[in-house]
Each structure stands twice: as structure tokens, then as C-alpha cells.
């Protein structure tokens, strides 16, 4: 189905395949609002208790070794600083390819996540290790680019779309977009919906394929779990391939309860349509211990088949070093130290 943007009328919104299937042909701002506001509220106390309980699971020895390797394979190694340079991106890519030079059995990360203007440098540095290249085989590393005036999302639609299209043209495999939280919080769901649809269209490559779209909800600014659930539905209905918690620039970033509530939406969507949507908690996950809690939560909520790079990612920078230290501890039997991993 084509996804051309209908600009006519204040209430009509862009037709998106999923929304048309679920809500019906009369896809208007009003019907969308009715649908989203009809979603049952979140039991906040129950959600937090459930997240807490899942976090107490004890993962040891061989399970831990598996979990650590899996965390690395699910990581979007990220650098999103104003001070980023091509050199910084090259060293990030080097680390993504060989996370621990002392142990070449360490898996590669799933992707590197950079600002749009850094995509060419990441592409160049990845070379044959890039997922799109012919030599990478199945285990290549993707390039994810943040777009749409990341992290605030405060720019005109045209600027956001140009930002996205430029990153895709430069070779980004995945686009991390931010939603317009201002519009969402003031109830203009149709505007948010339209924008996601338009960005999705901007992810289209010349050959007709699409760059993977991750929709950042910035849950730290949405205030309630009800809003998180509603925004998750909204992002999925509008065509997002992934829903992502945060930019990492706002505190609180990813938390376990928020991620759990998003996973529940993904589970419900899967039951409803059979389609699998990815989830990416990002920001604030710094230790292996915290990351393992997320793995448990994913496995218990949507199932173990979600623990693969197409369906679950960690957006992290310092997490990788901690996981490597833990791997070294498992291999050597003694605690390792920060002098034994690279400085980011």
C-alpha cells in the first residue's frame, strides 16, 4: 500500500496500512483519538511491581555467559554528543567491530548509532563489516542515524523530513526519529501520526526498500504510563518498526517499568495482527546487571524470540565496557578493571 500524505482538511490524517486495518477506512483525527483514548489505562502499581519482580531473577554461570554475549549482540553502540568528530566515530566503529581485542570470541554489536552527518564516516570506517556490504555475511553491523531534529524534535516538518532523507541517502540502515512530544501532550495525535507516516516515507530508498524506522517516544517527557502506552500504539499504527524509550538526553531515560509497558503493547499488537514490532530501551542502562533484567523482562513478556537484533536493542555507550569487564571476569575467574577496556 502506498503511503502518500493527504494534506487536505484539518481532520484527515495520512493513511497508513496498519491504521487502516485496525481502525478502519474512516481514518481521521477523531477516529484515531477515539481509538487511542479507548485503550485501557495502565495499572501503574501492578506494572512497577511486575517490573520489580522480574528484576530479581538470578542469572548465573552459563546463563550469565549467554546473556552477556546476547547483550553485546543486541547493542546499538551510541555516540550522540555535540562534540562528536569523525575520529570519535571511527573509534566507535572500531570498538563495535572488535569490542574486546583480548578476546576475539566477543560478538560484534548490532549497530552503531550516530548523528546523521556522521553516517558517511561510520560507513567508511565499517567498510566490509557493514551489514549492507557483500562481504559482511549475515553478521554485519548496521548504521543507525538519529534524525528529525534529535533530541528535541523542535523543527518544521520539512526540516525533519530533509534530515531523515539525507541520513538515508548517506547510507543509514536505521533511522531513530523523535516524536513531537509537544503535539502529543496537547492531544494533537493526528499531527504526531502524520509526522511518523511522513518520516517513514522519507526512509524510502531509491530501490523501493525502507530504512528501519525506530520511533523514540521520549518517555521521560510523557509523564504517565497511560501516555507511554498510547504513544506506543500511535507509533506502531503509524508504521514504526521499533518503538524506543528515550533519546538519552532527558532524565529519566529508559526504566524497566516503562520498557515493560511498551513490551506489553508489542505483545498485544502481535496477538492482534501477528506482526512483530521491536523495542529499544535507550539511556541509563550502564551495567550488565541492569541489562540482564531487561533480557528477562523481554523473554517473560513477549518471548525469547524477541531476543534478536531485529526485535530488541539496547541503546547504550558505557554498557558495553561493563559487559566486557563481566566477560573477562567469567573467563579469568578474577575481577577485571577499567584499565583493561578502552576509554570511550
Amino acid at each position: 500500500m502506498t503511503m502518500d500524505i493527504s494534506a487536505a482538511g484539518g481532520t484527515s490524517i495520512a493513511p497508513a496500512a496498519r491504521a487502516l486495518d485496525v481502525i478502519g477506512a474512516d481514518l481521521t483525527e477523531r477516529s484515531l483519538r477515539r481509538y487511542l483514548e479507548g485503550i485501557a489505562g495502565v495499572d501503574a502499581v501492578g506494572l512497577e511491581a511486575r517490573a520489580e519482580a522480574l528484576g530479581t531473577r538470578s542469572i548465573k554461570t552459563t546463563s550469565k555467559a549467554w546473556a552477556l554475549d546476547r547483550i553485546i549482540a543486541l547493542t546499538d553502540l551510541t555516540t550522540l554528543e555535540g562534540a562528536d568528530t569523525p575520529g570519535k566515530v571511527r573509534s566507535l566503529v572500531a570498538k563495535a567491530r572488535v569490542p574486546d581485542p583480548d578476546d576475539l570470541s566477543t560478538p560484534q554489536v548490532a549497530a552503531v548509532c550516530v548523528y546523521g552527518d556522521m553516517v558517511p564516516y561510520a560507513l567508511q570506517a565499517l567498510g566490509g563489516a557493514h551489514a549492507g556490504s557483500t562481504t559482511a555475511g549475515s553478521g554485519g553491523i548496521n548504521i543507525a542515524a538519529v534524525a528529525t531534529a534529535f533530541p528535541s524534535g523542535r523543527a518544521s516538518r520539512a526540516v525533519k523530513l530533509a534530515d531523515t532523507a539525507e541520513a538515508v541517502a548517506a547510507g543509514a540502515d536505521e533511522i531513530d526519529m523523535v516524536i513531537d512530544r509537544g503535539a502529543f501532550l496537547s492531544g494533537r495525535y493526528g499531527e504526531v501520526f502524520d509526522e511518523i507516516v511522513a518520516v517513514k516515507e522519507a526512509c524510502r530508498r531509491d530501490d523501493g526498500t525502507y530504512a528501519h524506522l525506530k520511533v523514540i517516544l521520549e518517555t521521560g517527557e510523557l509523564n504517565t504510563y497511560d501516555n507511554v502506552r498510547r504513544a506506543s500504539w500511535l507509533a506502531i499504527l503509524a508504521g514504526g518498526d521499533f518503538i524506543k524509550t528515550s533519546t538519552g538526553k532527558v532524565a529519566p531515560a529508559a526504566t524497566l517499568p516503562v520498557t515493560l509497558s511498551m513490551l506489553e503493547v508489542v505483545r498485544d499488537w502481535h496477538r492482534l495482527t501477528g506482526e512483530k514490532i521491536g523495542v529499544k530501551p535507550a539511556g541509563g542502562i550502564r551495567t550488565s546487571k541492569a541489562a540482564i533484567k531487561y533480557l528477562v523482562t523481554v523473554a517473560e513478556t513477549v518471548g525469547e524470540e524477541w531476543l534478536q537484533p531485529d526485535l530488541f536493542r539496547f541503546g547504550a555507550s558505557s554498557l558495553l565496557n561493563d559487559v566486557i569487564l563481566q566477560r573477562q571476569k567469567l573467563a579469568s575467574g578474577h575481577y577485571s578493571g577499567s584499565s583493561y577496556v578502552t576509554i570511550d
Binding site: 573477562q328 575467574g333 578474577h334 575481577y335 584499565s339
Partner: protein, 289 residues
């Protein structure tokens, strides 16, 4: 209405990163008087507590080693001041746990206070003694200065005076700007744990001193092999298999001080300060006018 007061038995906690924490393992053990009656409970640290203590101590290295020697001296002197203010408590604990006379306990506390003052004085002076301007055949200033090695794990004396032995082990390490993870006297840990309360209320930054009570035999191997520990003071490890600890320490190139025993164990010496330093030598051109 006069009723017999109930005693308030205390559970001492570990001192990690400036906070009083229970052992991650949830374990405690009984601390008894010399004669065997119950005094208090103390947390029995596990290897994971040691790991957490190392993380806290590592985080404190930059701040503590970056402070001026003068500032460190002032802070160490402040410990002596506060220790002096709580003299009766320490005397009481030593009398009970070591079974010594009040006079002997008072002498021990006084010596410990004086030792803090003595080491405090060295903080802005040891560099002048241990450093040097080296004569070189060229138009250069060539200066060698000692710098702290980083994070030092210490096994406090297990037989001698519980407060004095602890101070003898810990104070010299702090002088140059190292941070410390110390395993206290296992049988009589109260002096060390009460000293933690002194440290927490003096100006010592969080994480500079981390105190673990429990079994040195259980914890020491983890500290000796820990890659983030830069040096190991085995002062009180005489009863342990300390050769193995040395071997484990060698794997990650740690400096190691061997155990000492008797009344003179860890006697005050500038050598105990300079042992935990690394020498940095700087070449600088002389101005040619």
C-alpha cells in the same frame, strides 16, 4: 518507677563509598569480648562487597590524589581531632574486646591519635624527601616526584591492638593520595568500624577509605587478584596463605608489602608512605637567555 534498661545491641555495617552498607550477602557474625560474651554483630563481607568497595575506591582516586598535599594533611589531621573527641568510646570498646586495662587502652587510643597527626604532617612533605632534582648532562631540569599508585587493598593487623594496628596500616597509604579498601581485624573489628563513623563525619571524601569486616581468608584472594587494585598491603595477612596472595597479585603487577608481626608491625615510617607511590620523572629545558 525504676526498671532495668534493655541493652541496645548494635549491628555494625560495612563502610563502602562513604555509606554504611549491610553485606550484600546479608551475613553477620558475632563480635565477642575477650571473655567470650556477646558485644555486637558485625557485617560479614563477601567478595561482592569487596568488588563494590573497589568500585567506590576507584571512583574516589582522582579527587583524593588531585587534592593538594596541604589539603590532604588538613583532612588527616581532622581525623585525629574527631578521634580525640570520641576517645572514651574507643577506650571502652578496646577494653571490652581486647580485655586490656583501661590504661593500656587509653595509651593505644592516644598513640593512634598521635599517629594520624604524624602522618598528616607528611602529606605536604614526603614529596620533598622522596623526590629529587637529578643532575643530568644537558641543559635540562630533571625532576623525579612520587605520585600515588592509586587504589591499595590492605589487610589490617589481626593480632595487635585493634585500633592502632588499623591506623598503622591505613594512614600511611592515604598520605600520598591513594584510596584504600581495608579488611579489618576479624576478631576485634569494632575499633575499625567505629573509626568509620569518625571518617564519615570528618572531611574524608566518600570512597577514599572503605572498610570491610569479615574473614580476610575469604576476601583477600579476591582483592589480590582484582585487576583494578594497584597495590596490596599484606600487613595483617601473616596467618593466611599469603604466598598465594602474592602470586595472584603478581598477575596484575601489583606492589605488595609482606606481612609483619609483633608489637612493631607496621611501625610508623616514611617508607610505608613512599612504598605506595610511583616515581614520575620530568625533563624540562632550562631557559637559555
Amino acid at each position: 518507677m525504676s526498671q532495668a534498661r534493655l541493652t541496645v545491641p548494635k549491628t555494625y555495617k560495612l563502610y563502602i563509598g562513604g555509606k554504611f552498607a549491610r553485606s550484600e550477602s546479608g551475613r553477620v557474625y558475632e563480635v565477642t569480648t575477650r571473655k567470650g560474651s556477646f558485644m555486637a554483630n558485625a557485617a560479614k563481607a563477601s567478595r561482592k562487597d569487596a568488588r563494590d568497595a573497589v568500585v567506590a575506591a576507584r571512583a574516589a582516586v582522582n579527587g583524593w590524589s588531585g587534592a593538594t598535599g596541604y589539603n590532604r594533611g588538613q583532612i588527616l589531621y581532622r581525623i585525629a581531632e574527631l578521634l580525640d573527641g570520641r576517645r572514651p568510646q574507643f577506650i571502652d570498646e578496646i577494653v571490652q574486646s581486647e580485655g586490656v586495662s583501661t590504661t593500656a587502652a587509653a595509651a593505644q587510643v592516644d598513640e593512634a591519635i598521635d599517629l594520624w597527626v604524624w602522618y598528616a604532617g607528611w602529606a605536604d612533605k614526603y614529596v620533598q624527601v622522596a623526590g629529587n632534582g637529578n643532575p643530568v648532562s644537558g641543559p635540562y631540569f630533571n625532576l623525579s616526584t612520587p605520585e600515588p599508585t592509586g587504589l591499595v587493598a590492605v589487610i589490617a593487623p589481626q593480632d595487635s591492638g585493634s585500633l592502632l594496628g588499623f591506623v598503622r596500616a591505613v594512614a600511611p597509604v592515604l598520605v600520598s593520595g591513594n584510596t584504600v579498601v581495608v579488611v579489618a581485624n576479624e576478631r576485634t573489628p569494632l575499633a575499625a568500624l567505629s573509626l568509620a563513623e569518625v571518617l564519615a563525619t570528618s572531611d574524608v571524601p566518600a570512597g577514599v577509605v572503605n572498610i570491610l569486616s569479615g574473614s580476610p581468608a575469604e576476601i583477600a584472594p579476591w582483592l589480590a587478584s582484582h585487576a583494578d587494585v594497584n597495590a596490596l598491603d599484606l600487613l595483617g595477612a601473616g596467618d593466611l596463605d599469603w604466598i598465594d596472595l602474592q602470586i595472584a597479585a603478581a598477575e596484575t603487577l601489583k606492589r605488595v608489602l609482606p606481612p609483619e608481626s609483633g608489637a612493631d608491625a607496621g611501625a610508623p615510617s616514611i617508607d610505608r608512605i613512599t612504598f605506595f607511590t610511583e616515581t614520575k620523572t620530568v625533563w624540562h629545558t632550562k631557559g637559555l637567555l
